[in-house]
């Protein structure tokens, strides 16, 4: 999916940021009020709580044209719903490790706690993540090289998968 800037020809990442309404979204608002500058690469999706973020959205976003996903919420202990972000923390820790185990570049999925007063942190996070994703390139760049594919080829499925057929073949010879 072409995501190059029409004027500069430079790759412009699409980063989806799930921001909790009470903290991060307020922080983002404050950054705007304070006229802070940050790249327009991040699209904010407001959710009531980081605990509402279904990991299915994260994977769907990455497979549907997003180059990176951010999940941001209140600092643990400050959740507007008291406990939502505690659940989000555990959930996202395991999910992040799982998708990285399966080969996702770690910078593409990040979680940060940004409070309503941390306008600067919101700006810094967006700047940092945009830079990281620009450096990585579009999500398509995560695809493995021919060398990696060959290194792994044939080592995946258990050889017994077709055992009966091959065993019969051995008998037949």
């Amino acid at each position: 999916m072409p995501r190059d800037n029409e004027q500069t020809g430079e790759f412009t990442p699409k980063i989806l940021a799930f921001c909790c309404n009470w903290c991060t979204y307020a922080g983002a608002d404050l950054a705007g009020l304070n006229r802070m500058n940050y790249p327009a690469d991040v699209k904010v999706l407001r959710v009531p709580c980081s605990g509402r973020v279904n990991p299915q959205y994260v994977l769907k976003a990455l497979q549907s044209g997003c180059d990176g996903v951010l999940v941001c919420g209140c600092h643990p202990g400050d959740c507007h719903y008291s406990t939502g972000n505690y659940y989000a923390k555990r959930r996202m820790m395991i999910f992040k490790r799982m998708v990285e185990f399966a080969g996702l570049s770690p910078e593409r999925f990040q979680i940060r706690w940004i409070s309503g007063s941390e306008a600067g942190k919101f700006r810094d996070t967006v700047v940092e993540v945009s830079e990281q994703i620009r450096a990585l390139g579009p999500m398509e760049n995560d695809a493995p090289s021919r060398a990696a594919i060959d290194a792994v080829a044939g080592t995946v499925a258990s050889p017994e998968a077709d055992e009966e057929l091959f065993a019969a073949a051995k008998e037949a010879i």
Partner: protein, 284 residues
């Protein structure tokens, strides 16, 4: 194991004739001597069809959920099946009084095609049933073999190689959903795959769709997995589905442990359905 088989048959016949249970779930023999299949016996006179030996490769517990409407159901349960029973109870799919567990300590099954110990049995952590109403046969040793060798192998790969590994795996997936249907954690009345109006899962057969299905199912079950390995055993394509499950179990143990897998008791909460305020912090 021949004695165990005889006792199972006797007990099944007795439980059925007395009316204490309406069905007994175990294994029967298929057309060929080495083929076993999950068998639900509903009449005492059919109890002789039940077998128990080293070829009983299927983990049968899922069928409990289809028969409890007619009264209590008995299940011939090894370690894996017993953990599945706990899983069902913890997930509110069953109550303890709906199942009569005929516990059978298990030395491990053998794959008839290769003559080798079944992979899931070679990794088995719980051979003696963790819940039972009666125990048939003597307890067996619990060697608790190291089950993370494949996880180590994949973790040692570069990011690209890991991506290639999973691309190859998901590229071979035919989306038959045998893994989901066999899994005791997968009991949603409407699976995310079937939520057509929401549109999580497309219907095209390609590696991206297979990856979405595989990874989301793995995550949905990750903190509840009983490590029975039935998903991997059922998979017609021989996909190493347990790698991503063992990886999650180990991470949960490292981060929120001690944790040895799901289904060891029948009560929750499972690790991702709870929290501690001092859980490790890495997202500041």
């Amino acid at each position: 194991m021949a004695d165990v088989q005889d006792i199972i048959r006797e007990r099944a016949a007795a439980l059925l004739s007395s009316g204490e249970v309406s069905a007994v779930i175990g294994w029967g023999v298929g057309r060929f001597d080495d083929v076993r299949f999950p068998l639900v016996v509903k009449r005492a006179e059919d109890a002789g069809k039940l077998v128990f030996d080293a070829s009983c490769v299927q983990m049968t517990a899922k069928r409990l959920l289809e028969h409890t409407g007619d009264g209590k159901v008995a299940l011939v349960a090894r370690g894996c099946e017993s953990r599945a029973v706990n899983r069902f109870i913890a997930d509110h799919q069953l109550t303890r009084d709906q199942v009569y567990v005929i516990g059978v300590p298990c030395p491990g099954m053998v794959d008839p095609a290769t003559g080798e110990t079944l992979k899931r049995c070679a990794e088995c952590q719980v051979r003696n049933p963790v819940v039972h109403d009666e125990l048939v046969g003597d307890p067996v040793p619990e060697p608790k073999p190291y089950r993370f060798a494949e996880v180590d192998r994949v973790e040692a790969m570069s990011r690209e190689e890991r991506r290639a590994f999973f691309d190859e795996m998901y590229g071979k997936c035919i989306r038959c959903y045998a893994c989901r249907n066999a899994c005791p954690c997968c009991t949603c009345r409407e699976c995310f795959v079937e939520q057509d109006k929401v549109g999580w899962q497309g219907k095209a057969f390609n590696v991206n769709e297979a990856r979405y299905y595989g990874m989301i199912r793995a995550f949905h079950t990750g903190d509840r997995c009983i490590e029975c390995g039935e998903c991997e055993r059922a998979c017609p394509m021989g996909l190493p589905l347990m790698v991503i499950m063992h990886q999650q179990v180990r991470d949960i143990d490292k981060l929120f442990g001690p944790y040895e897998g799901g289904g060891l008791t029948d009560s929750g909460p499972d690790p991702l359905r709870t929290y501690k305020t001092d859980d490790i912090e890495e997202f500041m």
